[in-house]
Amino acid sequence: MATDAKVTFIHAADLHIGAPFTGIRHTTPELAHSLVAAITQSYNRLIDTALRRQVDFVVFAGDVFDRARPTYADFSSFYNGLNKLQTAHIPVYICNGNHDPWSTWSKDYGELPDNTHIFSAEHPEFFVYRKGNSPDGTPLATLGGRSFLNETFPKNDCIANGITKFDAQRATRIATPFYVGVIHTGLDFDHNQAYVPRQKLFSSGMNYWALGHIHKRMVINAPNGQNMQLVYSGCIQGRDVKEIGPRGCELITLEQGKRNKLEFIPLSSIIWEQCNVDISECSTLDQVTSKIRHALQRIDAGPGEHKVVVRVALVGRTNLNTLFSNENLNAIRHNINEHHAIVFCDSIIDCTRGIRDDATIKREGLFASLVLEGASWQKDHSNELFESLEREFAQRGEQLPREFSDQMQSVEQDALELVFRELGGEKK
């Protein structure tokens, strides 16, 4: 061989095209517009990057779409992107995930361009990539993967079964310099979502595993210096306030005789941040406002053209909390957003606590101490409380929010604060 074989590709996953943003409370029309366009913009950046960096192929490791089916506009953008890659002779390899299993692809999404290959859902499938995506190019890489047929992967089958270098060679009868695995899995983090013990992947003989399902970028290096990584590329655009930090895709370079090169490419249009602002020292709402402003200014927007949306939580001990009505907080928020171009505050949450000296209160043994006693009783009986809350909600025909049981502690804290606020508040 004259030169060592080399292949570059883009690995992305969890695009969730068409899924709305969750956990947002307030938007301006401008922000709403940005949100609506965000994922598509990120996707377009991905395509542009692929073209600019002249990669050999692109891999999507699952959850390209969402249970919320994409709008026509979104789907057109996706399709157009694939077409652009096709024109540049860049093939695309896709495996289906739990949010977009094969059963929905085959029904809804029509025919994709010829350069798009989807891994089978019934058995592991292998594709051989030839240089330039032409039938007489040298075979450079074999991709092996498996798709989700339905929204859950059957428990009695392991999604990584049959995806090894040996299986690849046997199935394709061709030897290539590189082998890449593509699956959508919870690895050993999530036992409910296509569980795969990582050792299995380490011993598969592949050079690189392109994984999907976890929305935060994660690189797991193989032990013993083996030149193999299990990589979650993370989503290309955070879709919830909790998905903070930059998001994008991975640009991988595999080269014979060298270690695999991984490069993170940020793609998001909107980056979420969370910011805790301690307002214990503030005594007026104006001071609170300026403290928040300073905190926001310190947020580093990072490189790239994206908006930063911040969830501000007020923390600390203060007795100003009686003034933290929704209206006031909204007014502060509007005030801040008017003066800030890059960073947008989507909501301000009051997590402050009242100034209390619990020891003194207990000592005085007055009504307030009874309240504290009750609070500690509540803490010890969280589960019962949870169930009784469920019942009370059910009585009123309501349902507790999802994953509420995890929040019981903060709810109890809030209840205590509320009681004290009411007791110490101004009489009507």
Binding site: A32, R69, E327, L366, L370, P401, V419
Partner: protein, 837 residues
């Protein structure tokens, strides 16, 4: 604050106003005067009341009352109950009228009136306040016994400022003599018992008492004493109102309850925007729009399928149209070919007919010719040539012979004639010789005369010409002269010739002999020649006979004619032959054309499948026409379909291009998520409220269970005293219901008690409550409306003592129509204030 519903949560600060400093709070709270009264020490008592209009009263003043025990004596229908209702009405709203309740409206006008409250002189002390005392400085630094108001530093300790602010009121009631520095007047004037906004003073005066508590605990009549509604809750509310917090826990609990209620408010006011039902309503609104948009999205993707199908159909249609078009062309070509063929066929038919006619004509001509010319025996052309030669030869011979004969004949004749002539001449000579001389002379004379005339003319003309000097006339004259000379010459010459005539008679005889010889010779020749000629003629006749012309020709000419005719016949025959040849050639051409046409016909049949080999041309034409019109129809249909298809495709394309820019669905989904988040927030808030309520309820429960024993203990004491030991305990049973315990330990539920005992029990409870929570409703008088009627004398005394005991802390007004009750009360409490109606 005055315009808000009682449990509104919002602060009134529309913009961000810094929270007030302590001093500011003080000053501001002057206006609000919240807490100015509460907990800070100043206590009031009802000094007097002025009824503008209520029940039987009109412009009536009642009072002055004392801060301790008061008794109002009035007979039946004097208005005791009316007064009690009036006090409650001014404080909490006019009573609602109904079929069973009295609204106390009358025809004089709307209900209206005023209560005048004065500050107490000695709070907590035995009611030694006299009517009309000023209590200007009673409040400086006095601790009213409520807990230190250091809750969060927001409570004002500012009654000084407050009272200073309010200034002096003149009482305006009957009997007022001194200025009451800080008197409070409560006025109510609204119609029909509608709750009107209470003034701040009003609220602070009432502080922690609401209408229910007032009705149950403060405004007592025998009916009330039958029960203590919501017994333990009431107790707790009562007791919790005396807790050490800035807001009474039961109030706080109420606030929380109200907030819980607000969570489910359906009000459209801005402040209830986040209530669960409103959020759900918004959500369902957006969700129905979302469903529509999702439907639309679904349809769009269906449209993609449709588009693909339509495109395929379009291609198929194109092919079909192309095929139809080529078929049309084919058929139309066929048609043209057929027309062409028809024309050709027609022409051919005509031509064939022509040819046949020509053939017939020719045949006829031939036949006619043959028939008219078949007489002669035919000879070959070569024979004819020989024969002609023969004829020529014969003719020559004959002609020669004839000539010869003719010559001979001529000679003979000549000779004969000469002979004869000579004979005649000889005869005549004799006669003629005379006559000729005369004529000769005449003959000579005539020309000489003429010549002389000519000469004369000539000379004349010549001279004339010379005279006239005309050359032409002269010339002419010369010419004539010339002629005359010539003539003269001629005469001369002629005359000489005449001289030569010898006598010829002798000559004549010689001649006669020769001529006779000649004649004989000629005659003999002539006979020979005639014989020749006859032989020739015979030869000719034989030849003609041999030629077979015997019947037809008599001589050579005729024979030649026959030959000519034969040649003519032959020529004509050759012409006929030529014509036949040409006709045959035409025939061949026509056959060829016929074959071509037949081929064309086959072609047409081949190309046009409906064609039947037996079809005539017009049948074919018809079929072709039919086929063409069918094809045209199909084409039209196909083209129409294509147009429709294209239109449909265009519409779909438009829809797609619009949809490619349409973000409505995404925006709606985002809205739905936002609402879900807010709903989750609302639910979490509700959960917090529920937990808070449980927390405070629990604390309240414990609070009350700490102090309520106090209440029940006291009630037990009071009951014991009242019943002289018959009943000595009041407690709650396991179900939380009140029961009394007799001295013997017998527990009894109130429902089982006698009327009197029951009332005593509930009175004891109330008195105990009022005693224990001495601060609650400290400004409000306790009104007892003839409550002792069912008590026997001993118990009446006990009750009176208990009441008097309470009067040391609270203002009590007893209404009665029994004089002995008045006396009893007077005995028990000497400081009593007595008022008669």
């Amino acid at each position: 604050m005055n315009n808000l519903p009682k449990h509104a949560r919002e602060t009134q600060t529309p913009s961000l106003v810094a929270p007030p400093t302590r001093q500011e709070i003080v000053l501001r709270h002057n206006d609000l005067s919240k807490g100015a009264v509460q907990g800070a020490g100043q206590r009031y008592y009802l000094r007097a009341l002025h009824i503008d209009n209520f029940g039987v009263f009109h412009q009536k003043d009642i009072g002055p009352f004392g801060p301790g025990l008061n008794v109002v004596y009035g007979r039946n229908e004097a208005g005791k109950t009316t007064i009690r209702q009036f006090i409650g009405g001014v404080l909490f709203g006019w009573p609602q009228g109904g079929s069973r309740t009295n609204s106390y409206s009358n025809t004089s006008g709307d209900r209206a009136g005023t209560l005048n409250f004065s500050p107490r002189a000695d709070v907590g002390g035995a009611g030694a306040s006299r009517a009309g005392t000023v209590t200007g400085d009673a409040d400086t630094g006095t601790d009213t016994g409520s807990a230190g108001v250091d809750s969060a530093g927001s409570q004002p300790n500012s009654v000084n400022a407050a009272s200073a602010q309010r200034g002096a009121y003149s009482a305006g009631t009957n009997g007022a003599r001194t200025s009451y520095g800080s008197e409070i007047r409560i006025t109510r004037t609204s119609k029909r018992g509608q709750p009107e906004e209470d003034s701040a003073e009003h609220s602070s005066l009432l502080a922690d008492i609401d209408k229910t508590t007032y009705a149950n605990v403060f405004s007592l009549d025998t009916d009330e004493l039958m029960d203590l509604k919501a017994g333990d809750k009431l107790t707790s509310r009562f007791l919790s109102a005396s807790a050490d917090t800035a807001v009474s826990p039961s109030q706080a609990k109420q606030n929380i309850e109200n907030q819980i209620k607000d969570c489910f408010s359906r009000s459209q006011a801005e402040s209830y925007k986040r209530s669960i039902p409103n959020l759900k309503a918004q959500l369902s609104q957006v969700q129905s729009k979302l469903e529509e948009a999702e439907e639309q999205r679904h349809r769009l993707f269906d449209d993609r399928e449709t588009y693909k199908n339509l495109s395929r159909e379009e291609r198929t249609l194109n092919e079909r149209i192309a095929r139809l078009q080529s078929l049309e062309k084919q058929l139309s070509n066929c048609e043209t070919n057929l027309v062409h063929w028809k024309n050709e066929h027609k022409k051919l038919t005509e031509d064939v007919r022509d040819l046949d006619e020509q053939k017939d004509d020719l045949t006829r001509e031939e036949r006619t010719f043959e028939s008219s010319h078949d007489a002669y025996p035919d000879k070959k052309d070569s024979d004819i040539m020989h024969m002609r030669k023969d004829i020529q030869a014969l003719r020559k011979k004959l002609t020669r012979s004839e000539d010869a004969l003719q010559d001979a004949k001529t000679h003979r004749e000549d000779s004969y004639v000469r002979l004869q002539t000579l004979k005649n001449k000889m005869a005549k000579e004799q006669t003629d010789s005379v006559s000729t001389r005369t004529t000769r002379a005449a003959r000579r004379a005539l020309p000489s005369v003429l010549t002389l005339i000519l000469l004369a003319i000539g000379a004349l003309t010549f001279s004339f010409g010379r005279i006239q000097s005309s050359i032409s006339i002269t010339g002419l004259g010369m010419v004539i002269l010339a002629l005359a000379f010539v003539g003269m010459l001629a005469i001369v010459v002629a005359g000489r010739r005449q001289i030569k005539q010898p006598s010829h008679l002798l000559v004549l005889e010689n001649q006669l002999e020769s001529d006779q010889t000649t004649f004989d010779r000629d005659d003999a020749l002539f006979n020979i020649k005639q014989k020749d000629y006859s032989a020739c003629e015979k030869e000719i006749a034989t030849w003609i006979q041999n030629a077979g012309f015997g019947e037809y020709a008599r001589n050579l000419d005729e024979a030649e004619d026959i030959l000519d005719s034969l040649e003519e016949i032959h020529k004509t025959q050759r012409l006929f032959h030529q014509r036949w040849l040409s006709l045959n050639a035409q025939d061949v051409q026509l056959r060829k054309r016929e074959r071509n046409l037949a081929e064309e016909h086959q072609d047409i049949l081949r190309t046009f499948e409906d064609a039947d080999i037996n079809d005539s041309a017009s049948d074919l034409e018809q079929k072709l026409e039919n086929a063409l019109s069918r094809v045209a129809e199909e084409l039209k249909l196909a083209r129409d379909e294509q147009t429709q298809n294209l239109r449909h495709l265009g519409q779909l394309n438009e829809r797609f291009s619009r949809a490619a820019n349409d973000n409505e669905l995404s925006e709606l989904r985002l809205q739905v998520e936002k609402l879900h988040t807010k709903l989750d927030d609302a639910h979490k808030h509700l959960a917090v409220l529920l937990l808070a309520r449980d927390l405070i309820s629990g604390a309240l429960h414990r609070w009350e269970s700490q102090s309520s024993p106090d209440v029940y203990g006291r009630a037990g004491h009071i009951l014991e005293a009242m019943t002289s030991g018959a009943w000595d305990h009041v407690q709650l049973d396991s179900a939380g219901k009140i029961q009394a315990v007799s001295f013997s330990g017998n527990t009894m539920k109130p429902v089982k008690m006698s009327l009197g005992t029951r009332q005593q029990l509930y009175l004891s409870l109330r008195l105990a409550l009022l005693q224990t929570a001495s601060d609650v409703g400290k400004n409000v008088p306790v009104l007892c409306d003839d409550i002792l009627v069912n008590f026997d004398e001993a118990r009446r005394e006990g009750a009176a003592k208990a009441i008097a005991s309470l009067a040391a802390q609270r203002q009590i007004i007893v209404f009665t129509c029994h004089q002995d009750v008045v006396s009893l009360l007077k005995d028990v409490c000497p400081n009593i204030t007595e008022i008669s109606l």
